[in-house]
């Protein structure tokens, strides 16, 4: 596997003396994405998920993934406590893990009789491993200070625990500058580092790790995007929806089902971002939408029925398609030939061609709306330009569009009606 794609997992704890932490970590992870909760939200059935995960689930089937109770996005509420727990645990995780592993190593050494520390009695092994409370950790850490884990375990040092800590030997290192000093001097000393730096995410400062740090950060006035309402897509014409996507500043190409999915995803991204205590910029969200587009959007296109992807398959067999759909083509041609006699008097010699072109134009107008990107409104000019294209059943590009007529909205099948209705669509507010 890709080594850069390294994910942490609760099973990391199974190797350590405190396997029970695996359960703690599992509880702090979202059951949908299996990652730590990102902006946890609680549902009305009291289940907690990441904001984006639960929004995606609810727009998908409107049910809580855990108990399948029906729920609505509007009823989701922030779960601050869980967020603070996750933040705290995430900060402590690395150090805690290292510490647990170092205990394991220590035990091994002790078992081999190599331990030089003057700890009393022989049967320390099991005694040490079971009650590894944070108090213990802090203490042995102090002694371990000159060793390899001198800096990192200090990150988990909790203020209350260190207040009553009595250094019984040696010096300890400052986690920032690694200057050796008495344990009691470390915290006052840390302030020296903090004052000039004053970075909002001073990871090493225990004072800033307090939960209040989180809430106060979230209250900072940040330029956030506004929440977006859900749309009832059934009531929206394709052109109106396209316009809406354009107004939102997101791509507006593709057939209607893709537009709907894209809009849904965007609404979820934006609303989840509004929930977040660290909102991201619109640019970042657009990148995220692009990732979605590349991983899932295309899939939706393919799901629409075989060959309707916006790019034709390379190995598309135009001839076979023409043969298998010969009847359709024949019917269309027959239809086209049936109409002209009425107009023939007016249209002189070109009558037949005009009628054929009419058929073509309906083909292409339909295909414009379904497959060709970036069409916000089929203008008269565009429709006329399509008249120039040849009608050739063996031509893959055309053949591909034929089946799309079947599933097409009636309005799209009749481009003339579509066009006349268009000014009305355009007036719809964004």
């Amino acid at each position: 596997m890709d080594p850069s794609f390294d994910v942490s997992d609760p099973s990391d704890w199974l190797e350590t003396p405190v396997k029970e932490l695996a359960a703690v970590e599992t509880a702090l992870r979202c059951q949908v994405c299996k990652d730590f909760f990102d902006t946890p939200m609680i549902t009305s059935c009291s289940h907690t998920f990441c904001s984006l995960c639960i929004r995606r689930c609810l727009t998908n089937d409107g049910k809580c993934p855990a108990c399948r109770a029906s729920d609505q996005e509007l009823r989701l509420r922030r779960n601050w406590t869980v967020e603070e727990l996750v933040e705290g645990f995430k900060r402590a995780r690395e150090a805690l893990l290292q510490f647990n592993q170092s205990i394991k190593v220590m035990e091994k050494e002790r078992a081999q009789g190599k331990n030089k520390r003057k700890r009393n009695s022989a049967s320390q092994g099991p005694d040490e491993s079971i009650p590894s409370t944070s108090r213990r950790k802090t203490r042995s850490q102090g002694r371990e200070a000159p060793g390899t884990h001198a800096t990192s375990p200090n990150e988990i040092a909790d203020t209350e625990e260190d207040d009553d800590y009595q250094p019984d030997d040696g010096l300890t290192a400052c986690p920032i500058c690694e200057k050796r000093m008495k344990e009691a001097e470390v915290f006052p000393h840390l302030d020296i580092h903090n004052e000039p730096a004053s970075t909002p995410n001073g990871k090493l400062s225990p004072i800033r790790n307090m939960p209040n740090g989180l809430t106060s950060r979230s209250r900072q006035p940040t330029k956030t995007m506004e929440r977006l309402p859900q749309l009832s897509y059934g009531l929206l014409k394709e052109q109106a929806l396209r316009k809406k996507l354009l107004d939102l500043g997101i791509p507006n190409h593709g057939p209607k089902p893709l537009l709907i999915k894209r809009h849904t995803e965007w609404v979820n991204l934006v609303n989840a971002n509004c929930d977040s205590s660290r909102p991201r910029t619109k640019r970042e969200l657009l990148n995220e939408l692009d990732t979605w587009e590349r991983s899932q959007g295309r899939n939706i296109l393919n799901g629409l029925g075989g060959n309707e992807a916006s790019v034709m398959r390379k190995d598309f067999d135009g001839a076979a398609w023409a043969t298998s759909h010969e009847n359709d083509f024949q019917q269309l041609i027959a239809k086209a030939r049936r109409k002209p006699p009425a107009q023939k008097e007016n249209c002189d010699v070109n009558g037949v061609d005009n009628a054929t072109e009419r058929i073509q134009s309906s083909h292409f107008a339909a295909s414009e709306t379904s497959a060709v990107p970036q069409i916000t409104g089929v203008t008269q000019v565009e429709t006329e330009s399509t008249l120039q294209r040849p009608l050739n059943p063996a031509n893959g590009a055309l053949a591909r569009d034929v089946p799309s007529l079947e599933g097409m909205h009636p309005a799209a099948r009749e481009p003339v009606i579509d066009l006349s209705g268009e000014p009305g669509n355009r007036q719809q507010p964004a």
């Binding site: 596997m1 990652d35 689930c57």
Partner: protein, 167 residues
């Protein structure tokens, strides 16, 4: 975030499955290039005619996983009421709510994003032990299971032995 939600989650499930695998189950992506295609090995449950057999299966994940369930297909021949002759597994946990081929399943036992590969494979293992003949995917096998159980078991055992290359 160059990786999609689905691949991240699949990777995380893969890690969990490798570090603490359930009994009798192994699963993982077939190649590094495609995390959406997995192969799984399931041991036949003890005390059933499938005992002793190792059943390889292929899991295909949709791009919107975990919103939609994967499909599972046995690669060898598995004579079982809930396995189509093509090897495709028909089990409620693999069906999204609203997509019920046989109209008998409770919504509560269907796919939900909180299910996982591990749970699917465990369900399939227990399906091997206890077929559900209400919705047979393989009608012949279901009939045999219901009416001629000894013959059914004999056929399954023969299949297991054949797959292991013992006959």
């Amino acid at each position: 975030m160059a990786t999609s939600v689905a691949s991240r989650r699949l990777f995380s499930e893969y890690r969990a499955l490798t570090s603490s695998p359930p009994d009798g189950i192994t699963a993982g992506p077939i190649s590094e290039d495609d995390i959406f295609l997995w192969e799984a090995l399931i041991q036949g449950p003890d005390g059933t005619p499938y005992e002793g057999g190792i059943f390889p299966a292929e899991l295909k994940f949709p791009k919107d996983y975990p919103l939609a369930p994967p499909t599972m297909k046995f690669l060898g021949e598995v004579w079982h009421p809930n396995v189509y002759p093509t090897g495709l597994v028909c089990i409620s946990i693999l069906h999204a709510p609203g997509d019920d081929p046989n109209h008998y399943e409770q919504a509560s036992e269907r796919w939900s994003p909180i299910q996982s590969v591990e749970k699917i494979l465990i369900s399939v293992m227990s399906m091997l032990a206890e077929p559900n003949d209400e919705s047979p995917a393989n009608v012949e096998a279901a009939k045999m299971w219901r009416e001629r159980r000894p013959e059914f078991e004999k056929r399954v055992r023969e299949g297991v032995r054949r797959d292991l290359g013992l006959t």
